[in-house]
């Protein structure tokens, strides 16, 4: 019996493509998008192949360059009713695929990247960054690529492990021969990656890796558009200092991000004469009840600063709220990623009292590029808004592309020179690197100012209504960005 089923399936498989191949063919023509149309559906209908949709995108965009009555398709998954698109002839489509195959074979410029896509890495962050990279890549190639060639992004999984990072970076540079790298989520990964980049003299633009030492080593190849831990800690501490606390509890994670972040924060508190105590938890800790109990029963903190990422932070905040020691009972600087999850508001009813440190411009100051990116990102991922690391990823890839274009070649030294002089406008606003080989880091600044974007916007924000949209976040600190007053527990 099984044999016959198998046989039938094989026959079916052989017949279906023959039938589809015999489907009626159409001439190249213009087409106005109707309701319920998808590009792949159209591709199937007109070209007899659902997989031929990139040809439609390509030719429509070509036409758009000459005649803007044609739509510009930036995301093949998104077309709108009423848009005019061009359906190529099967010959044209074939020619497109033949070309694109060829172009992948020879005329592409490769940029490397790695993000955590599996545990123990933070997959939430990794997938967000991957989506952002893909958006940037599509835009770059739609805009004609780099140096007249298409860009190929080679994206590897860092697993959040430094030893993995060494290996992946080595593979990007030696095996795939990328000309530059835009990368990284975890600080530990960034620390390992920068060594490989330096050894092989390949420029890297870091996003999201906050550890000060990444730019602190002063390698010519290393650039960073994300803030340093000390920048973020500085804002956290400055903000908390405005509340005049006598004792702060720092709840942090035992990772390359959490350990130095807690150290820097503690140092800054000490300098201000504020007492603090750090509680370390392993990433992935599920049960915080005993330590929350201990915080409650011991010396009660005036502020709890949560430096836990992702779901670990969520777990802590929920259990603190359940134990009657949550945002409604004590001022709590929470973890941003948690509030992106729908269940957050059900699990932490008073999450509106949470404060977050947010990276990037407040919504009110978003540039057009930010808004355009946010729209695509929300559409692509279904998340509430682009997280800071998504914006950083997007900008890091665009900036790398711009630098290669400005350098006029893929020579590492030329790209590094271009990056040192770059003036880039992106989702995070205007980015440039103050200190580099032509303008050395002054003595009174830490070494980490080297190739570091010195003006990232770091703010303290609050959702003041339960389940409030991200666009309505209230910025409570610093004064430069302030849009409203903080609501305090019991208020």
């Amino acid at each position: 019996m099984r044999k016959y089923v198998l046989f039938a399936m094989v026959v079916l498989m052989l017949v279906v493509p023959t039938v589809t191949a015999a489907a009626p063919m159409y001439q190249g023509e213009d087409y106005v998008v109707q309701a319920d149309d998808w590009l792949s559906k159209l591709a199937d209908k007109f070209l007899g192949d659902v997989l031929a949709y990139p040809a439609i995108t390509y030719y429509t965009n070509q036409k758009n360059a000459e005649d803007d009555s044609y739509a510009k398709i930036t995301n093949s998954d998104v077309i709108e009713v009423g848009q005019k698109i061009y359906i190529p002839t099967p010959e044209e489509a074939e020619a497109y695929f033949a070309n694109s195959v060829q172009s992948i074979g020879s005329g592409t410029i490769k940029i490397g990247s790695m993000v955590p896509l599996s545990a123990p890495g933070s997959v939430t962050g990794g997938t967000a960054m991957k989506a952002a990279y893909e958006i940037a890549l599509e835009e770059i190639n739609a805009a004609g690529g780099v140096l007249g060639q298409q860009v190929e992004l080679i994206l590897l999984d860092s697993e959040g492990l430094p030893e993995r990072a060494t290996s992946a970076m080595s593979r990007l540079i030696n095996q795939d021969e990328v000309v530059a790298v835009a990368c990284c989520y975890h600080s530990a990964v960034g620390l390992a990656a920068k060594e490989v980049a330096h050894d092989n003299h390949i420029p890297v633009v870091f996003a999201e890796t906050w550890n000060d030492d990444i730019t602190g080593s002063g390698y010519p190849e290393v650039f960073r558009i994300a803030p340093r831990s000390s920048d973020v800690a500085g804002v956290d501490v400055d903000y908390i200092a405005t509340l005049n606390p006598s004792y702060v509890a720092i709840m942090t994670e035992n990772t390359g991000y959490g350990i130095p972040a807690a150290e820097i924060t503690t140092e800054k508190f000490n300098a201000l004469g504020i007492e603090s105590e750090t509680f370390f938890a392993d990433i992935g800790t599920l049960d915080f009840a005993p330590v929350i109990e201990r915080m409650k029963a011991g010396r009660t903190p005036d502020v709890i600063l949560v430096l836990l990422t992702g779901e670990t932070g969520f777990n802590f905040e929920q259990q603190a709220a359940e134990a009657g020691f949550g945002p409604e009972d004590v001022v709590m600087v929470c973890n941003q990623a948690a509030s992106d999850s729908d269940s957050f508001w059900a699990a932490v009813p008073d999450g509106r009292l949470c404060l977050y440190h947010a990276i990037g411009l407040p919504t009110a100051l978003w540039t057009d590029k930010t808004k355009a990116f946010a729209e695509k990102y929300v559409e692509k991922t279904g998340r509430a808004r682009p997280e800071s690391y998504a914006m950083e990823a997007y900008d890091s890839l665009w900036m790398t592309a711009q630098a290669i274009n400005e350098a006029g070649s893929t020579d590492p030294d030329a790209i590094i020179a271009a990056l040192e002089n770059i003036q880039y406008d992106g989702a995070l606003g205007h980015i440039w690197f103050e200190y580099g080989s032509s303008n050395p880091v002054p003595e009174d600044l830490p070494a980490s100012a080297w190739h570091q974007f010195m003006n990232p916007a770091v703010t303290i924000v609050q959702f003041q209504e339960q389940g409030e949209s991200a666009a309505d976040l209230t910025v409570v600190f610093p004064d430069t960005y302030k849009t409203g007053d903080q609501i305090f527990p019991g208020q």
């Binding site: 392993d282 009840a289 259990q319 269940s343």
Partner: protein, 404 residues
Amino acid sequence: MHASPLLQTFNTGPALLILLWVIFWAVVGGVVTPRVYRRKDLDASSATLYGAVAGAGTGPILPVYLWVKTPELNWRWIVVPSALTLAMLIWAFAVYDPNNLCVNNGGYVISQISNGLLVGVLYGLIALGLTLIFSILGIVSFAHGQFYMIGGYVAFFVVDDVFGLNLNPLLGLLAAGLVTMAIGIVFERLLLRPMHLGQIERPSEYAILVTFGLAFFLTYTVQATIGTNPRKLTPYFPIDTVTIGPVSMPPSRVIGAAIGLVVLAILYWFLNYTWRGKALRAVSQDKQAAAVVGINPLTMNTLAFGMGAMLAGIAGAALVQVFTWAPNVGDVASARSFVVIVLGGMGSLIGAMVGGLVIGVVEALGVGCFPDVSRALAYQQVFGLVIFAIVLLLKPTGLFGREL
């Protein structure tokens, strides 16, 4: 490196003196007592342990009594000295860290213990299935945590509206149990039955490796298909935090523990009042005799493995509303279950529950009392694991286990 601004002062010297006193008399008691008993031509098989505990708990007093009178060593001579030993150790700790909340705040200790008990019921629930499998098949399933993980996911997808199902939590529990049971039964039939039919060399290693392979397979199948994005479910029933005196119990955990107790009650009923349940117990007590009276042990193996998997799945479904869920939650659950069943005694259902409670309390008190507050949470699992290792070395049959 992390100088704590809350200056913690420790009286290492005096505490060490107490500790040395305890250790000294434990060694003296442990070494001398068996010699005395042997010289008097008495049973000296347990004299080492009894002497050591007597010395640790009472210094020279009880050992000397034992040497002079040499009474028959039964439980009486270990319970009180054990308690006294514990008291001595607590005293040493109190001297070492007088500012510790565990030392000077009784309400705090009670609330930690109640926290531990609550979470302990959950641990016990996770471990129930593992101990059931061990009692019938005589193997430890290294894939137990993975069944737990899958159960949680099934419940999540049934109860949450990701797929628009949005069903009643009870259906979630049921679905989780059925799915994991099905996987368990298929696995048992395909990969464990050959072992019981004698088709496999080195069966004990095979059992470890093959269940380990299953764990690997299940974890990454789930990871590859639904990703590692953590999932979170809100408490099944909208109840408030339960507060009794200094003790406050979060709603999600109360619900989880309640489910655990109900499951335990149903299991108890099944094993004691149904034919199949009694047959299972018969097999666990004596395979041959059970076979003689017409119970097919192979069927019972499949049933037991399926039920074990189902219990894990239900535990997962009960706990998915307590903790965030990711494909790797199974690893920690497996490790905890091993700790719990070894402590409670492999194969004992009551042992699993008691073991769960003990581990819950030990972990809560461990984190609550560990002198260095910044590292306390990082050592959470270690407290249980150390007890686990000690029990394995000294009394592998645990609290309620029987000799195998």
